[in-house]
């Protein structure tokens, strides 16, 4: 929680476990921004992020009972990550639709570039993130938005810590390079 101490968070979680509507409302207020950012940076799409955010909080009504203490941030973002993976799998089942969406997005981006609105309308970071492999992109976003350390990320993803460290390092170095290149152009 961005500006909430751990006692408040505990009270909110306890309320959510009792299925208290007000507690869920507080949880939505506290975490929506970061979760939305996480989904947006992975999907690059506002509508998808809206859907995933709703889906996550609706699922939390049931899932929060399975949270038995520990790092709530880490737990919550692991749930978010699983929801993202479910969405990816569903998307992969419909490759044709994905292709057509991709070309539609490419067309829109091209039109915006042509109309000289690039800097205002297109999220430069989002565009450069497209050049980072999916797994590394998710790892850097998980680290950034969930505030989990490398060790926690490695545990949550079932990966060796050295692998996580090296993937995040390489991806962030590449992102920096891409961002510097694009600002020079």
């Amino acid at each position: 929680m961005e500006k909430t101490d751990s006692k408040d968070l505990e009270a909110v979680i306890a309320g959510c476990k009792r299925r208290d509507s007000e507690s869920f409302s507080k949880l939505v207020d506290a975490y929506s921004r970061r979760l939305y950012g996480f989904f947006y940076r992975l999907s690059g799409d506002k509508t998808t992020s809206d859907d995933l955010l709703s889906e996550l909080f609706v699922k939390l009504v049931e899932k929060i009972r399975h949270f038995h203490g520990g790092n709530f941030n880490g737990w919550l973002f692991t749930v978010a990550s699983n929801i993202w993976h479910d969405r990816l799998r569903a998307k992969q089942r419909d490759d044709k639709a994905m292709e057509s969406r991709k070309s539609q997005l490419e067309l829109e981006a091209q039109q915006k570039r042509l109309s000289g609105q690039e800097t205002e309308m297109i999220d430069r970071l989002g565009r450069e993130l497209e050049n980072i492999d999916e797994e590394s992109r998710e790892l850097i976003m998980l680290r950034y938005y969930s505030q989990m350390g490398f060790k926690e990320i490695a545990q949550s993803r079932g990966m060796p810590i050295g692998t996580v460290l090296s993937k995040v390092h390489r991806a962030l170095a590449r992102l920096r390079q891409l961002m510097e290149q694009s600002s020079d152009e």
Partner: protein, 169 residues
């Protein structure tokens, strides 16, 4: 937004040489700064309201489902009790005239004439063994066993074996 509790330098030193670790730390911190400098859009107020409405709807749906489930369980239990009570009542009602109020009321002839035949082969074998042992005991008591003397211990062992064989099936 990175984890403040983590000692990144120490961690990197475990995996990289000193110079590489310093470079990796810089790459990570500067990369994360780029993400911080380019914030993702926020969910708009309408979307937040929509999420809360959906959560409330889910809370209501879940509460309703749980309530229904509790009722269903209670009704099933109640139905079970009623059926069991009914069966007991019917059974008592059907046999109320046939059943003697006490053992003393059972006609003696009924007991004496009863033929308790065994359907179970195992039980028949056991009965035969018991009879054989009884005969032996009787013979022993009457001194009809001649030179073949069987001690009480032997009989007890034999009884134990029969008992064990029976339960082994």
């Amino acid at each position: 937004m990175n984890n403040k509790d983590e000692n990144l330098k120490e961690l990197l030193n475990k995996f990289y040489a000193e110079a590489e670790a310093a470079k990796a730390e810089e790459d990570i911190l500067r990369g994360e700064q780029i993400i911080a400098d380019n914030p993702a859009p926020r969910p708009d107020a309408q979307q937040m309201r929509f999420v809360k409405l959906q959560v409330n709807a889910e809370l209501k749906r879940t509460a309703k489902t749980e309530k229904l489930s509790r009722w269903r369980w209670a009704l099933t239990a109640a139905a079970g009790i009623v059926i069991a009570a009914g069966l007991v009542f019917v059974h008592n009602y059907q046999f109320r005239d046939e059943r003697p109020a006490s053992i003393a009321e059972i006609p003696k002839a009924n007991v004496e004439d009863s033929d308790f035949s065994f359907d179970d082969t195992e039980l028949e074998l056991l009965a035969a063994d018991i009879e054989a042992v009884e005969d032996e005991i009787l013979a022993l008591q009457l001194g009809e066993n001649g030179t073949e003397w069987i001690s009480a211990d032997d009989i007890e062992i034999e009884l134990l074996e029969i008992n064990e064989d029976f339960w082994k099936g």
